[in-house]
């Protein structure tokens, strides 16, 4: 019952907004958010569709726990076919937008077609209409600071293939280019205000109160979610992963970065010699979150990147670990203030700092090899060139000069300049901040992720580095395929429920299940939830196979397979993907070619 049971269908070509009931039979099989929207998407969209054509669809979706008092219950996702990968794209965001959409009475908004002119969608409770303006203008125009806005920036308008959808100024559905699809539809923003108290009903409010309260106690008592994440954010991992020898550096040429300490979570707390103030101002939380891992930063106003730009002198969304790595270690840049500025631009102009930073790293390697010249780029581009990285962030946001090429991602860039092997991607999406040679399970997770290289589909860093739930040696392969499958299936459940994946540093399924059970009608046992997760994974896989991807796309760049790690505790290591992948297919119930068997499909009902 925690669903609103309402779907808003927006035809951008005709300019119409229509209401339809949520398919509750599908909700029983796919729960909500990622799973349920994927079911809608694959049922309505030709897998062969050009991602940037009007025939592609774009779905904003909440989960049954979104907008409830469950800790972190503020999540929403955006599902589409991704332009970077040609695979299913599902990008998850926090902030306050998702809960507001729920309060307005909607589980899901499906966008179809493309608008003949730029528009935004305005939702005030059950009223929806298409109009035009942007975030600050929208709030001013509507005289409502609580109007929640998810918007694309210039990157989405310019066709940057990893453009993001940003809500609440610095929370983002960041990866896989969902913002590029939104831009291709001439859809600038979705603005929503929800004031309905009858938008949804919990199946058992008293049981839900007890279960969600128990969950909050677990988060508060756990060292990671109660202290580590609020104080240092995800950025605390920079030094951990560097010490472990798994921090990809200079386009994965190296696995340790000499500048890691200068750009990590601890550095954000330290007073700058220039103005005596720390980069970090405070932490921040999304709707309903009792962890509060978000970084709020203020730059040194004298820094070269902003000294004449007072609009960047205030506090805003600071770098998280992935952004700091991509904008920093991936390029050899160790200026925390420059990373913060580039990150501000990523938020403001709406593009993914991971794919952007990794693509700059690839460009720097091409430059280093003489395959790109100063004349082609417009300036010198050696590894570690802080000003060049900043300049490229500005050019990419504006779609100008060499920024146009950076905006297409590293696969297209490296192919154009004759070295496709230098693109550090899987299925066309750039790696995040862990080296697949140093952490064997993460390598397998990247290779098999349904949305291209991604750490949020099966976070093997937990067992391989943090010892959560059990410690596995980074170089071991035994047991990793089965552990990864369990992580991928559980993650699909979390992503479909409306809560944040970070709860799982402290919560097991036994903490989540009672909350879903109390919120939703029906029997939601742990076994059933894991089956839902497995079903979602296989549905995404089926879509990708129908879109033309095959088992051969479950791979890693030759550098990770053949060039050993040069330094640190993982020295000499290459990825042992070939040892793990056949076993992974087996535990998934797939053929040796990576196709779900008829028995698996029948068991899961996909």
């Amino acid at each position: 019952m925690a669903w609103t049971k309402n779907v808003l269908r927006v035809n951008l070509e005709a300019g119409t907004c229509t209401t339809e009931p949520l398919n509750m039979a599908w909700a029983q099989d796919y729960l909500g958010q990622r799973g349920l929207a994927t079911k809608y998407f694959v049922s309505e969209v030709d897998p062969q569709v050009d991602p940037l054509s009007p025939k592609n669809k774009l779905i904003f979706v909440t989960g049954p726990l979104t907008g409830t008092m469950a800790a972190t219950g503020g999540r929403y996702s955006v599902i589409t076919k991704g332009p970077l990968t040609g695979a299913i794209a599902c990008s998850n965001s926090g902030g306050y937008f998702g809960a507001e959409l729920k309060f307005a009475g909607w589980d899901m908004v499906i966008f179809e077609g493309a608008s003949p002119k730029p528009v935004y969608l305005l939702i005030i409770d059950d009223q929806a209409e298409l109009v035009w303006e942007t975030e600050a203008a929208l709030q001013k125009h509507h005289q409502d600071p609580q109007l929640r806005v998810a918007a694309i920036g210039r990157a989405g308008e310019q066709g940057v293939l990893y453009a993001a959808i940003v809500n609440d100024l610095h929370r983002a559905a960041g990866r896989s280019g969902v913002g590029a699809v939104m831009g291709s539809k001439n859809l600038k923003a979705v603005a929503v205000r929800g004031t309905r108290t009858d938008a949804y009903h919990l199946a058992d409010p008293e049981a839900f109160f007890k279960a969600s309260e128990a969950g909050k106690q677990v988060l508060a008592a756990h060292g990671v979610t109660g202290q580590g994440l609020p104080t240092y954010g995800t950025q605390v991992l920079m030094n951990v992963i560097n010490e472990l020898g798994a921090l990809p550096t200079r386009n994965h040429r190296d696995v340790q970065f000499e500048g890691a300490m200068a750009i990590g979570g601890e550095a954000m707390h330290e007073k700058r010699p220039t103005d005596g103030k720390a980069n970090l101002v405070t932490n921040g939380a999304c709707f309903g979150c009792t962890i509060a891992c978000g970084r709020i930063s203020r730059m040194d106003p004298g820094h070269f990147s902003v000294k004449d730009k007072p609009q960047y002198h205030g506090a805003s969304g600071g770098v998280e670990y992935e952004a700091a790595w991509a904008l920093g270690a991936a390029n050899g840049v160790s200026d925390l203030e420059a990373l913060t500025y580039a990150n501000f631009l990523c938020n403001e102009d709406g593009f993914d700092p991971i794919s952007f930073g990794a693509t700059v790293g690839a460009a720097m390697e091409l430059y280093d090899l003489g395959l790109l010249t100063k004349e082609q780029v417009g300036f010198e581009l050696p590894f570690g060139a802080t000003e060049a990285m900043v300049k490229l962030a500005e050019l990419t946001a504006r779609g100008e000069g060499f920024g146009k090429e950076i905006g297409l991602g590293s696969r297209r860039l490296c192919a154009k300049y004759g070295r496709p092997d230098l693109s550090m991607t899987v299925k066309g999406q750039e790696f995040p901040a862990y080296d697949g040679r140093g952490l064997q399970g993460m390598g397998l997770a990247y290779a098999t992720s349904n949305r291209g290289a991604c750490h949020l589909r099966g976070y093997m860093v937990s067992p391989e580095v943090l010892g959560i739930p059990v410690k596995m040696e980074p170089q071991a392969t035994e047991g990793k395929p089965a552990m990864l499958k369990a992580f991928q299936d559980l993650t699909a459940v979390v992503d479909s429920a409306g809560i944040c994946l970070f709860t799982t540093f402290a919560w097991g399924l036994s903490d989540i299940q009672p909350q879903i059970q109390a919120a939703c009608e029906g029997d939601w046992s742990e076994e059933r939830l894991l089956l839902v997760g497995e079903r979602i994974w296989n549905l995404e896989r089926q879509f990708n196979l129908a879109a033309g991807l095959t088992g051969k796309d479950d791979n890693l760049p030759p550098r990770l397979m053949k060039e050993p790690a040069k330094t640190g505790p993982q020295k000499g290591a290459v990825s042992k993907l070939d040892l793990m992948l056949p076993e992974y297919y087996q535990v998934r119930g797939w053929t040796p070619q990576g196709v779900p068997t008829p028995e698996t499909k029948a068991r899961l009902g996909v």
């Binding site: 756990h222 060292g223 990671v224 202290q227 580590g228 994440l229 104080t231 240092y232 954010g233 995800t234 950025q235 605390v236 991992l237 030094n239 951990v240 010490e243 472990l244 020898g245 300490m261 979570g265 601890e266 330290e270 998280e320 670990y321 992935e322 750490h455 949020l456 976070y459 860093v461 937990s462 580095v465 943090l466 010892g467 959560i468 410690k471 040696e473 994946l501 970070f502 540093f505 640190g568 505790p569 993982q570």
Partner: protein, 84 residues
């Protein structure tokens, strides 16, 4: 013998003031010192030692009392932290 001790996040407070920004200090310890011996001698709460690496290799809680340190090794310790 000399070893290097690295302490991060909130554990940095257990380093000498001048070493905190670098998160790192060289220590003279008795030959045969174990990981746990160093943790105790530096008054680091053992319950706060969630990630313990020697030269980048994980030392499980049960092994800390028996893992002997050798000359020149780097002992790095974090409290419970995670990222993503």
């Amino acid at each position: 013998m000399r070893i290097t001790l690295k302490l991060f996040a909130s554990l940095s407070a257990h380093l000498p003031a001048e070493a905190r920004a670098r998160h790192c200090v060289d220590l003279e310890v008795a030959a045969g010192s174990t990981v746990l011996d160093v943790i105790r001698s530096q008054r680091i709460p053992p319950g706060q030692c969630a990630i313990v690496l020697v030269d980048g290799v994980w030392v499980a809680p049960a092994d800390r009392a028996v893992r002997d340190l050798a000359e020149g090794e780097v002992l790095a310790i974090w409290p419970p932290v995670a990222g993503g």
